[in-house]
C-alpha cells in the first residue's frame, strides 16, 4: 500500500513536468529553420501549391493556435499524422518502440557483463597488474566513440566472418537476437567503462569495512563474502549510475540504430528531423521524456529494495 501510494504520487508529479516538456519541444521545433511543405514537394514546387499544403497542414496558423490544436490532440493520445510516412505518429512509435527497448535491454546486458567482474576484481586487487589492465581498458573504451566501435565490430564480425547481419534485425525472434548482439556490445562497452570505474571505487570502500571483516571472522568463503557482503553493497551506488546511463542509452540509440540499420525510434527521430516531420519529432522526443521519467521512478523503487535504509517518501 505504501509502495502504491508512492507510485501514484510520483506519477502525478510526472504530469506537470511532461506539460513543460511539451511546450519546450513544440516551440523549439519551430525554431529549426526549414519548411516541411518545401521538403515534401521539393525545390521545384510552385508558391501556390506550397501555400495550399501549408494551410492543409495547419502551418499557416499562428504558433499558439497550432500549439493549442497539438495539445488538445495530445490529451486524446493523438500525436498527429507523420508528414513523411502519412501514418499516425502513435502507430509509428508503437511500431518502433519495441526495437529500441530490446536494444536497451541488450546494451544493459552487455554493459553489466563487461563491468561487474572487471570492476570487482579491479577493486579487490587495487594497484595490482589486473587493476591497471582493467583501468586502461575502461579508459580506452571511454575515449572511443560508439559509432567507431560499431563500425569496427560490423567490419570484423558481419563483413569478414559473417556471424551477424550487417544491417537490420530480420523478421524472426532468432534473427532479432542475432541482430541485437553487436549493437548491444557497441553501447555496452561505453557504459561498462563508466560502471567499472564506479564499481571499482565502491568495492575499495567496502572491502576493508568492518562488516566484511566480521563476515570473514564468521568463516564465510571468499565467494560468499564477495557476493553477499562486498558486491551487494558496492552495487547500490552503481545502480543509480546505471539508471542515469539508461537515459543516455536512449540518445545513444540514435547513433547505434543508424549504424546498424535498426528500425527503432532513434532512427525514426533522425529521419523525422531530416524531413522536418514535426509530428514525428515531437512524438519521439515526448516519448523519450516519458521513458526517462518512468526509468527514474523505477530506479527509486529498485533502490529502496536494494538499500533498506532508504525510505520511499
Amino acid at each position: 500500500m505504501d509502495l502504491l501510494s508512492y507510485i501514484l504520487k510520483r506519477v502525478l508529479q510526472i504530469i506537470p513536468v511532461f506539460i513543460i516538456a511539451t511546450i519546450l519541444i513544440f516551440f523549439l521545433m519551430r525554431l529549426i529553420p526549414g519548411d516541411p511543405a518545401l521538403v515534401m514537394l521539393g525545390e521545384k514546387a510552385t508558391p501556390e501549391s506550397l501555400a495550399l499544403l501549408r494551410s492543409k497542414m495547419g502551418l499557416d496558423q499562428s504558433y499558439f493556435t497550432q500549439f493549442y490544436l497539438f495539445f488538445k490532440n495530445l490529451i486524446c493520445f493523438d500525436l498527429g499524422t507523420s508528414i513523411k510516412y502519412k501514418e499516425p505518429v502513435l502507430l509509428l512509435l508503437g511500431d518502433k518502440l519495441m526495437t529500441t527497448v530490446w536494444l536497451i535491454i541488450s546494451s544493459l546486458f552487455f554493459s553489466l557483463l563487461f563491468s561487474i567482474i572487471p570492476g570487482y576484481y579491479s577493486g579487490i586487487h587495487k594497484d595490482k597488474p589486473v587493476d591497471y589492465i582493467f583501468r586502461l581498458l575502461s579508459l580506452l573504451s571511454l575515449a572511443t566513440p560508439a559509432f567507431w566501435i560499431g563500425l569496427v565490430l560490423l567490419t570484423l564480425f558481419s563483413v569478414q566472418v559473417n556471424w551477424f547481419p550487417v544491417s537490420g534485425w530480420g523478421n524472426t525472434f532468432e534473427e532479432h537476437i542475432l541482430g541485437l548482439i553487436l549493437p548491444g556490445i557497441t553501447q555496452g562497452i561505453g557504459v561498462a567503462a563508466v560502471l567499472i570505474r564506479n564499481l571499482r571505487n565502491n568495492v575499495i570502500d567496502v572491502k576493508d569495512s568492518d562488516y566484511v571483516n566480521y563476515a570473514r571472522s564468521k568463516g564465510l568463503s571468499n565467494f560468499q563474502i564477495g557476493i553477499h557482503h562486498i558486491l551487494r553493497n558496492a552495487l547500490i551506488p552503481t545502480t543509480t549510475l546505471l539508471s542515469m546511463r539508461i537515459a543516455t542509452m536512449l540518445s545513444g540509440s540514435i547513433v547505434v540504430e543508424t549504424v546498424f540499420g535498426l528500425p527503432g525510434i532513434g532512427a525514426l527521430l533522425v529521419n523525422g528531423i531530416y524531413a522536418r516531420d514535426y509530428p514525428v519529432v515531437q512524438g519521439v522526443v515526448l516519448l523519450f521524456v516519458l521513458l526517462v521519467m518512468v526509468i527514474n521512478l523505477a530506479t527509486d523503487i529498485i533502490y529502496s529494495f536494494l538499500d533498506p535504509r532508504v525510505k520511499l517518501s
Binding site: D208, S209, D210, Y211, N213, Y214, A215, R216, S217, K218, G219, L220, S221, Q224, H228, H229, R232, N233, I236, L306, D307, P308, R309
Partner: protein, 340 residues
C-alpha cells in the same frame, strides 16, 4: 603453561610487523599468553598498543600489509598459523567467534539479521524452519524481545543496546568455544554498557565459552576478567589474575594506568589525585633498545635504556616486565574492585 587439557588458546612469542610507506612497524614483539577453558582473559592498554592486532592475528584477519614473522598460536592442539586459509575458515566462526566494537558498522547494513544468523548455520543440515527456531532461541537467550519480528529487521532498525545483542546473537549462532570480544562496550553509553557486561558474563556460563576481552577500560576488566594482560607498545608488560593486578600492580605502566583513573570527589584523599602518564607511546618503527616504557617511567635507570627486561614471575601466576618491579612492592592499585 603447556597445551594441557584446560588450555583453549596458547599464544607463544607472537611477532607481527606492518609495513607502510617503506617503514616497518613492530606491532607485536613476542606476545605469549594462554587462555584457560571457561575463563575470561582481558587485554588492556592504550590505543595502538597491539591488543586489537593480537586478537585479529589469532584468526588471521589482518590487513594486507601485516606479516606475522614469528611465533605459534595453538587452539587446542592445532597451530592456527600453520593452517591453510581454507582450514582456518573452519575455525573462524565455529570454534572462535568475534564481537566487534560497533555493531552498526560490523553488521551488513543491507542484510536482515535473519540472513546474518543463517550464514552461521550454513553448514548445518537444518531446514530453514529449523534454522529459524535456532535463531529465535539464541535471540531469546541474549535478551532481544519479539525475536520472531526482529529477525526480519535490519541492524539500523535496532536501538543501541539491541544492536550489540544482535551481533552477540549472530556470533553465538556459530556455536564458538572461544569468543574474542574487541571493545564490545566502547561504543555504548554507560547504562547499556552495564547490560552488555552482564550479558557477556551470563553468556559465558550459558554457552560455556571462554572469552578474550580487548578493552581499554579497567572498570570493564574488573567486572569481567579472571586474568588480565597489560599491553604496551607491542609487549605484554604485566600479567596476573585480576585481583592481584588490581591490588598489587608491579609494573610502573599498570600503576600509572590506575593512577590515571578519575575518582569521585568523595573517594579522593589528599594524596590521591588523578595523575596522567606523561609523554606518549614510542614510535613502533623505532622502538628503544631497552624497555619500551623507559621515556615515560619514573623509576627508570641506565639499565632500562640498555636492556629490555624479561617477563619475570613475581609470585605464582603474576608476571611483570620490569627491572625494578620490587620498587613497587607495597604499592596498591584499585583495591576495592568488585567482581562480576
Amino acid at each position: 603453561m603447556n597445551t594441557a587439557k584446560d588450555t583453549i588458546l596458547k599464544v607463544d612469542n607472537l611477532k607481527l610487523q606492518f609495513s607502510s610507506n617503506g617503514q616497518t612497524l613492530n606491532a607485536l614483539n613476542g606476545i605469549s599468553f594462554s587462555i584457560r577453558r571457561g575463563e575470561t582473559f582481558g587485554f588492556v592498554g592504550e590505543s595502538g598498543c597491539g591488543k586489537s592486532t593480537t586478537s585479529r592475528a589469532i584468526l588471521r584477519l589482518l590487513a594486507d600489509n601485516a606479516k606475522i614473522t614469528d611465533g605459534t598460536i595453538y587452539y587446542n592442539e592445532t597451530d592456527l598459523l600453520k593452517l591453510s586459509e581454507k582450514d582456518l575458515r573452519k575455525i573462524r566462526g565455529k570454534e572462535i567467534g568475534m564481537i566487534f566494537q560497533d555493531p552498526m558498522t560490523a553488521l551488513n547494513p543491507v542484510l536482515t539479521i535473519r540472513k546474518q544468523i543463517f550464514e552461521q548455520l550454513r553448514d548445518t543440515k537444518l531446514s530453514s524452519k529449523e534454522k529459524e527456531i535456532v535463531a529465535i532461541e539464541i535471540m531469546n537467550k541474549v535478551g532481544i524481545p519479539l525475536p520472531e519480528k526482529r529477525l526480519n529487521e535490519y541492524i539500523f532498525q535496532y536501538s543501541g543496546g539491541m544492536r550489540q545483542r544482535a551481533m552477540i546473537a549472530i556470533t553465538l549462532a556459530g556455536n564458538p568455544k572461544l569468543l574474542i570480544a574487541d571493545e564490545p562496550t566502547t561504543a555504548l553509553d554507560v547504562t547499556i554498557q552495564d547490560q552488555i557486561i552482564k550479558l557477556l558474563n551470563h553468556v559465558k556460563e550459558d554457552f560455556g565459552v571462554s572469552i578474550l576481552l580487548i578493552t581499554h577500560d579497567l572498570g570493564v576488566v574488573g567486572r569481567m576478567c579472571d586474568r588480565v594482560a597489560v599491553m604496551y607498545a607491542g609487549y605484554i608488560v604485566e600479567m596476573a589474575d585480576t585481583y592481584t593486578l588490581f591490588s598489587a600492580p608491579r609494573h610502573p605502566y599498570t600503576k600509572g594506568l590506575m593512577d590515571a583513573l578519575p575518582k569521585l570527589p568523595q573517594e579522593q584523599t589528599r594524596n590521591e589525585e588523578m595523575k596522567p602518564i606523561p609523554g606518549a607511546l614510542p614510535s613502533l618503527s623505532d622502538l628503544p633498545q631497552g624497555c619500551p616504557f623507559v621515556s615515560r617511567c619514573q623509576l627508570h635507570q641506565t639499565l632500562c635504556q640498555d636492556q629490555l627486561p624479561t617477563m619475570q614471575e613475581i609470585s605464582p601466576g603474576h608476571f611483570a616486565r620490569c627491572h625494578y618491579f620490587h620498587k613497587l612492592e607495597g604499592c596498591t592499585g584499585l583495591i576495592n574492585c568488585t567482581k562480576g
